[in-house]
């Protein structure tokens, strides 16, 4: 199906508010959306959502012959698929410019940064090695698929465990998980992508652009980086010129985001591990949010679902208003620190607090270096909470 066109009205409005350093979802220009990492019940499956963008990564392994030129190394294979349910413009089995770019960037990010120790995947030199395959599927596209996919892929790789193998002479035994505990891959570092979108001749930039912001952007810059401040990949697309200082400024911002996200991944991994060791239920089903549809006669529907004694008529219960709002979906985790919500889940919500006006402060902080910046960010978010405790998460 063809793409949905963007109207002049949307374009003009988006550009106008970006020039005012605001965004349609109430975020600051340098804020991420709510990032959520969930692990499946199998090892090596991970779903990451950035707001409404959702990406699923699955890791699988099999034994195969190594490449001729690298006989003692395993093989890492990365594949990105744009599922047709993700967006009306995605089609099954057709390579578009978008999907090729995404595939290539993911390959550069994961394979060429050599983040997975491939030598440990060797079984018999020149004959048998493990092939690790990362399948990334975009389940829903609402912009910034690459950042989302890069987190999903690396988190899935870190979560994955391959079966144990013993070699005795000519005999190779692959043990089932009952016989011997499966072995995790050794991950040297976690390269993550951060996307910057530029507007008004590179004057304004946004981190983590939404789909509609991506459509009106002049160009994007992607920085792949790990928490040791090593740049693994850098790419600029679109028709724009960038000043050297801007690139440097972006790498600084990318570093802060990468540290934040690496922390979040580790938090989620640890969380999943403890849930598993305790024998609790884990997997996607345990961590999905429930939304109630309230199309017509809403009070009744709530009653049906929750089996509680809510008043039938919607007008009579003004007393319980505050309570109901608290239970409503508009309550989001507040603040910049990762929040643990459920088993195998961690959420970060910098978009949760409204702090448009404090943006200047943050940009100034950027230039003074990383440590000061972090301090000012924390200050800003604390201020935001104190001055407007009643402000809803969305506005």
């Amino acid at each position: 199906m063809r793409d949905v066109p963007i109207s002049n009205c949307e374009r003009e409005f988006l550009l106008a508010i970006i020039a005012e350093k605001k965004r349609v979802d109430g975020r600051q220009p340098t804020d991420l959306r709510q990032v959520k990492i969930q692990f499946g019940s199998n090892f090596g499956s991970c779903e990451v959502s950035f707001g409404k963008t959702r990406v699923l990564a699955t890791v699988s392994s099999e034994v195969a012959a190594p490449k001729q030129r690298r006989p003692n190394e395993g093989i890492l294979f990365v594949n990105v698929e744009l599922s047709p349910m993700g967006h009306p413009s995605f089609e099954q089995g057709r390579q578009t410019e978008e999907s090729v770019e995404l595939n290539r960037l993911m390959e550069r990010c994961l394979k060429e940064s050599r983040c997975v120790d491939l030598e440990s995947l060797c079984i018999v030199v020149g004959e048998k090695v493990w092939t690790v395959r990362v399948d990334v599927t975009v389940v829903n596209q609402d912009g910034n698929m690459l950042d989302c996919a890069s987190i999903a892929a690396i988190a899935a790789l870190a979560h994955f465990k391959r079966p144990d193998v013993t070699v005795k002479g000519q005999e190779i035994t692959i043990h089932t998980s009952d016989e011997r505990d499966p072995i995790p891959l050794s991950i040297h570092h976690m390269p993550l992508c951060v996307t910057f979108a530029f507007f008004h001749q590179g004057k304004f930039l946004l981190i983590d652009p939404q789909e509609r912001e991506e459509r009106v952007t002049e160009g994007k810059m992607v920085i792949g980086m790990n928490k040791h401040r090593e740049i693994c990949m850098l790419q600029v697309t679109g028709q724009m010129l960038l000043h050297q200082d801007k690139v440097k400024q972006c790498t600084k911002m990318a570093f802060v985001k990468v540290v934040e996200m690496t922390e979040l991944i580790q938090e989620a991994l640890a969380n999943d591990k403890t849930a598993r060791s305790k024998g609790e239920k884990c997997g996607f089903a345990m961590s999905s949010e429930k939304e109630i549809n309230t199309t017509v006669s809403p009070a009744k529907l709530v009653e049906d679902v929750s089996k509680t004694d809510l008043p039938m008529s919607s007008d009579s219960d003004s007393g319980s208003e505050q309570e109901m709002v608290e239970a409503g979906p508009q309550e989001r985790p507040v603040g910049d620190s990762p929040k643990v919500v459920g088993k195998g889940v961690a959420i970060i919500g910098s978009a949760a607090v409204k702090k448009w006006e404090e943006e200047e402060e943050r940009v100034k902080g950027d230039k003074k270096g990383k440590k000061k910046k972090e301090a000012s960010v924390k200050e800003a978010s604390v201020k935001g909470q104190q001055s407007r405790p009643q402000a809803s998460a969305y506005f």
Binding site: V4, C9, E10, D304, S318, F395
Partner: protein, 236 residues
């Protein structure tokens, strides 16, 4: 027929004991219901709805628009092709809009429509075998609010059930928002909503309020509008 009211059904569920009209002994099946041999089955997941005397339909959470004759939709002009404009209304096919179907337009006096403009229009033809056609006039040749919208504001897309919910007279969303501050709004049944507040900030807040109202009940919406007004006032 209390047993049927607001029951959640899934595709494949058999729906029995339908209430027939007393005179004609017939039942009207709306969207989401179909007959297979003698029985009626649900073909969409959602809430089964009933209206006196004999109308049944399923209310679903859906984003894909299926054009219905007579509905007001917001379209985006994608192409100017001679005498007609091609308009994207979110359906499977683009709709056509004649240059003569604007108020006061003649062969000489053509309306000023550009590619990318948004038009509030009404579906004149909506048929599964034909291309949909939209017009920007009513049967008296008046615009009655329809036409090209070029006065700023913001257009966004929501699910179809949110739009239906907003248009329901029992829904308090528009009323409670309107009590707090003035704004303009245009709701298309194809899931597109255009809003314009006094400032850009208000427009953003309005758009978010409408989107947030999707999974809220009436009291929650009221409370949310309260907080929104407080938050907006607190900004200055």
């Amino acid at each position: 027929m209390a047993a049927h009211m607001d029951r959640i059904v899934l595709p494949g569920d058999k729906i029995s004991d339908l209430k027939e009209s007393e005179t004609s002994k017939k039942v009207v099946l709306g969207p989401g219901l179909r007959t297979e041999t003698e029985d009626v089955y649900a073909c969409k997941p959602g809430v089964l709805k009933f209206k006196e005397p004999n109308v049944y339909w399923i209310d679903t959470h859906q984003k894909r628009y299926v054009p219905v004759k007579g509905e007001h939709v917001i379209g985006i002009v994608t192409q100017k092709a001679g005498d007609i404009f091609r308009v994207d209304i979110g359906g499977s096919d683009q709709a056509s809009l004649s240059y003569l179907s604007f108020e006061g337009s003649t062969k000489r006096n053509r309306p000023d429509v550009k590619v990318g403009d948004i038009v509030y229009s009404r579906l004149l033809v909506a048929n599964k075998d034909m291309e949909p056609e939209v017009v920007c006039i009513d049967s008296h040749g008046r615009s009655s609010g329809m036409g090209v919208i070029r006065s700023g504001g913001f257009l966004f897309k929501t699910s179809l059930n949110l739009v239906r919910k907003m248009c329901n007279p029992q829904c308090v969303l528009m009323k409670s928002l309107g009590n707090k501050f003035p704004f303009e709004v245009m709701v298309g049944m194809n899931g597109r909503i255009w809003v314009k507040g006094r400032t850009n900030k208000e427009t953003v807040a309005l758009a978010n309020a409408v989107c947030a109202a999707e999974h809220m009940t009436n009291p929650q919406i009221k409370a949310m509008c309260h907080r929104l007004a407080d938050a907006l006032a607190g900004f200055e």
